[in-house]
Symmetry: D2
Subunit: 388 residues, 4 copies
């Protein structure tokens, strides 16, 4: 059984999620072609890095990500840093021949994304983006039903990602509200997750028409650097700084297949926590999913007898995608961790077998093209082609 040494860059929420996946993936997927080894973790301070290594079970730590990229014993670079550093790290990693697992969105701009894509193509390394939600078993089940034709030809895709962790204007000005670090706001941070699901389920997006808004234009300045989503406590800080990214985006879209749809993402949806939903209308049925109730997929088959038609609430389990690897009965509980375990498995498996895995940097680049089209549409107030 192969072992791949991981170098993880970043020590925040995502480092936790990835480390837990590395540690437990083989417990769930077994036997498996290869297993990850937590070798080196990187954080900005020596203290932070040492603490992270102890906490997340890494053998070594460093404060310079180049140490990891240059370490010949490292097989995989895991990029779990804010968006402004993705391109530089990923390109260096590709040049060093490392396989790359990168948090989403791929980068701040399409130019950065293109350079990253070129680098991994040139290097021939396996690359993957952490759009994990498509690996929720219920989402994979939706994909299966669509692929099998169970709901016919797709007519309409309707997606949302609604959150409220920063609906309070007193939530601090973290890096997620700063364009120079994040690139964009809701569009890049959460809208891209829905775009990924839309492409996964309904195919390539041809054109878009939408708007970006910023309802909360300034926020209290933070002391120090931190990204602890949702643990942000509101308060009365003396100074405020400008938010220069969007906190709401909504757009119409046409797929290449002829289907159409709409997507909306917001950080101002009080009461919506991680409200990733989609509804797909097909010519012979419908599908509805809500991540807040992620153990469930709702499916309607028009072919059912007239008096027995209704949305079926299917709890995913051993009969569904990845089910055998997870828990032995449905509704024992799919959490965020499970999506990351499946993601980890598929990535490691792709490296071991040399096969493609998605979403990869090419997907990430195309999603950036789509985001550019949405921004252009918002400026020009008309439909714009994505050039995907």
């Amino acid at each position: 059984m192969k072992k791949y040494n991981i170098g993880l860059i970043g020590a925040g929420f995502m480092a936790k999620a990835h480390s837990a996946a590395y540690a437990t993936m083989p417990m769930f997927f077994w036997p498996v072609a290869a297993v990850p080894v937590r070798r080196t973790i990187c954080d900005l301070s020596e203290e932070g890095a040492r603490d992270a290594a102890a906490r997340f079970g890494f053998e070594k730590h460093t404060t310079d990500w180049r140490d990891i990229v240059n370490d010949p014993e490292i097989d995989i670079i895991d990029i779990a840093t804010p968006n402004d550093s993705h391109a530089e790290i990923a390109i260096a990693a590709a040049n060093a021949g490392k396989h790359i697992f990168c948090e989403k969105p791929i980068a701040r701009t399409t130019e950065e994304a293109k350079a990253m894509l070129d680098a991994v193509k040139a290097a021939g390394v396996t690359n993957m983006l952490a759009f994990n939600y498509r690996r929720t078993p219920a989402v994979a089940l939706a994909k299966k039903f669509i692929s099998e034709g169970s709901i016919g030809k797709i007519l309409n895709f309707r997606g949302t990602y609604l959150q409220d962790w920063s609906a309070d204007p007193n939530a601090p000005l973290s890096w997620r509200f700063q364009k120079k670090i994040a690139g964009s706001g809701t569009l890049g941070d959460i809208g891209t997750h829905v775009i990924d699901i839309a492409r996964y389920l309904a195919g390539e997006i041809d054109e878009v028409c939408g708007t970006l808004d910023t309802h909360i234009p300034e926020r209290p300045l933070q002391q120090g650097f931190a990204d602890k989503l949702g643990t942000v406590k509101s308060g009365t800080h003396a100074k405020k700084g400008p938010v220069d990214v969007d906190d709401e985006v909504k757009f119409l879209l046409n797929f290449r297949s002829g289907a159409s749809g709409s997507i909306e993402a917001t950080r101002n949806g009080w009461g919506r926590n991680n409200y990733i939903t989609f509804e797909v209308h097909g010519s012979e049925g419908s599908i509805f999913f809500n991540y807040e109730r992620r153990d469930e997929l709702q499916v309607y088959f028009a072919s059912d007898p007239a008096d027995k038609r209704g949305f079926r609430t299917i709890y995913t389990g051993p009969s569904h995608p990845n089910g055998d690897a997870l828990w032995p009965i449905p509704a024992l509980g799919i959490g965020y961790g499970e999506t990351k375990i499946i993601e980890c498995h598929d990535f490691i498996q792709a490296i071991a077998t040399g096969q493609d895995v998605s979403p990869n940097f090419e997907d990430g680049y195309k999603i950036e093209l789509i985001c550019d089209a949405i921004k252009a549409s918002s400026m020009d107030r008309k439909w714009v082609k994505t050039n995907c």
Copy 2:
């Protein structure tokens, strides 16, 4: 106690709904300023009209709507016919000094709507349109919470009206699929209900950007004329005719207030029956409503303590709008009939007191302007002002 004689034109599903409201309104709202009397009903055939009178409890019947409009004993004309006859009847009724209750949408075109509005203004008669869903107690409760400021300033309104009664391509080509009778498809038939609710809750709509689609371009020809929503049985008819109206519409919109939003309506949403929903994000809370569970309103107050925050599922009852008149405890059951009883009461009350009532012909005209803007946007593929 005043009595108003009703002349009802039409004998289909809506005649049933209106007649039941006339018969029972005083049982619920009591004491009441005035009561309706079912005087004359009109249907196209003598047999149909006679039968309708017996069934719906009218004293007289006729096959010519002009008999009703010209009858000096008639106080109120109730127009429950397909859309192509609304303008002619309503204008004649206004000229005859009758108060008018008209099914929605107001007419086939903005021109017709304008002429109708001018006629009722000139005549000074009370006029109302049957956008009944805003009278669902839970929708009225949403209005109350918004008006009181309980969810702060409105940021976003998101509405849907999804149906599937004609998602089957073998459902016959009724008048609702023919432009010369219906004027438009989903947009006029069901989209206008959501536009009415959007204006009711969030104010005037300033501009729109959207698309109209027709997924099912032809349908089996019907024998005879009928409009029995949903009772349409699918079958294999020899001949088909063209559908020249939309079966799906979706658009983004900006309100005059600065809020924005999106609306979608379809006849192809398998599994959605009468799925009128809206979600409103305010600066201090959110509201969600789904007509298929119309006894309930979901409300989230950001001011709740952090560990006790969550959408409240409020079952409407005596503590809520119109509650004292309806059933003594919540969840005994609000049906379609109750929305019509409240509507009937408000209309009769408006006549008796001489006060305004809404939605009226002015609202109907503005909704037509908005529909025109949506159609223009769909043609020109850009944002269009509504001129409201």
Copy 3:
């Protein structure tokens, strides 16, 4: 078409519900074998009776129910009074050869119920009890699925009726809390509804084991007599009186068929309004119903393919029992009124055709036997046979 003259005794909430059903039944069920005519209504005071006649559309009024029972033009006696008067009125009505529609529970005691049953049998008149909830289309659909064998052999029936309109100890001491008038509390008032549904779906009940509790032992005295469910406002009244009936009942039960189950009813279930639910486990499927979402029936078929199994949420409509008579598409809305319209239709139809209708006085008598067994079980703290 036959016409039956109704004499309605009582002028409260149930008079409203019954009158609305009489007025609109033919609008929904048409053509129909016979129609009801609202002839005479009775209330205790002259003013109340006159007002009720005007409000509910009756031709005549009286303050003495014997006037109605003795009126040769009256065909049907509708008993919508508190429980202590059911027996006397019903027996007199039967002796006068009238058909009888009686509110539930049938009476205060089994002795009264037996006398009523004997009287209607001797007179050969059509008789029915107003356990209306089994006429909810979704409940009738459950019956259909069970009868067809769609969920196999019934193993378990689990029912609830939870309310909170009197969970507040300051809600006044209405007749429903007084044994001499009501006979019992939750058991008779709401528990019997679930017993009726249990027998309807799963057959005769053989033995029971349960307990009755009274959590709120005294309540403020009311001024005058009133029964306005739920409109009871809490307050600080100077004097309180004793509650001598149960406000919570729960029991296990065994059916004659071999199935078993449990039933619970309470007036102390804060947040539950009219929470009538049942879950039926069969050898090949399951059914769940919640009246608060009464448009829906949830059904699970074990015969579905493993990856497509899930509870189906079926919205009742034209494809389901009584659907053609009601609204043209599902989810337009089944309210309390619709259950009463169906009930009215079935009763009138039974008189016109001379056929049996259920639930009738025999059912009511057996439900009293079951209630007696529950009370005995609660006293003796062991299982008791129902003698049904």
Copy 4:
């Protein structure tokens, strides 16, 4: 930071769940007083044990649990075997001075449980039972609300645990259907989870009255030994063997506090997967929980204004018990794994600090007493005291 060496006995589903918790607990709870080290794992075969060590990350493996109990470097014995071996292993472990974490139910009989309790008391070792569901954040939040008095005095507790993984009569005769190994069926396997929650939330249970049933009396014989819940495939095996444990249990109960309630557990509830629910009625509010939607707790506060009352659907997150340790925003997703991580933390923390932890062997023993009372009640068909 202390380290405790774990010896894990068993290599099935529970070994997976426990190992994942050991591996990731410090990633979530950090800093932490002590961390677990996966030292030795035991399975019946050499091959199975070696494979389990590789899969679950243990340093050593053995086929004899006594090796682990006698290993002086082992601090903690984790018993994840079928019920018939709990007592022997636990008593030996206690005598060897090991802390013990034991899967539920504690044992096959009350006598075994008593001997285990005596042993851990005599040895003074920390002991815990794996009734993990009470550690679901939403259940812990229910406990917090009740303890704070937010819903007043508890009147009623109503719990269920409904499953269907063996509703198919062709699911094989695993050890869970054999009394000599399992001790009992639904009562011990899943009913005890609800009893644990009931005692946690509402206090000690004083008396019970209930029944045990076996609807499926025989099942196909299995080849070899396996316990893969839910992965049991149905088939047509030549031979069948008798099921001598219950597959459905339901009982009424009275708490020492004066509250009462009911509990039901079944393996025949088609469509219910891991349907652990409870509803608690208090004098000032209500709580409802459904594990299948375990991110949510529903709470109703009677103190809310009349027009704003409704069950709040609270998604647990950083503002709730254990929230800071888990995921940064609500609804990212609580899975089965998270309940085990919290459980692991509390157990390790208890050892490190020398404080009590619950549920422990004393709780397990009392739950056995309650189960005995239920069995006696089912035999004698009357109420029975629990002697707790």
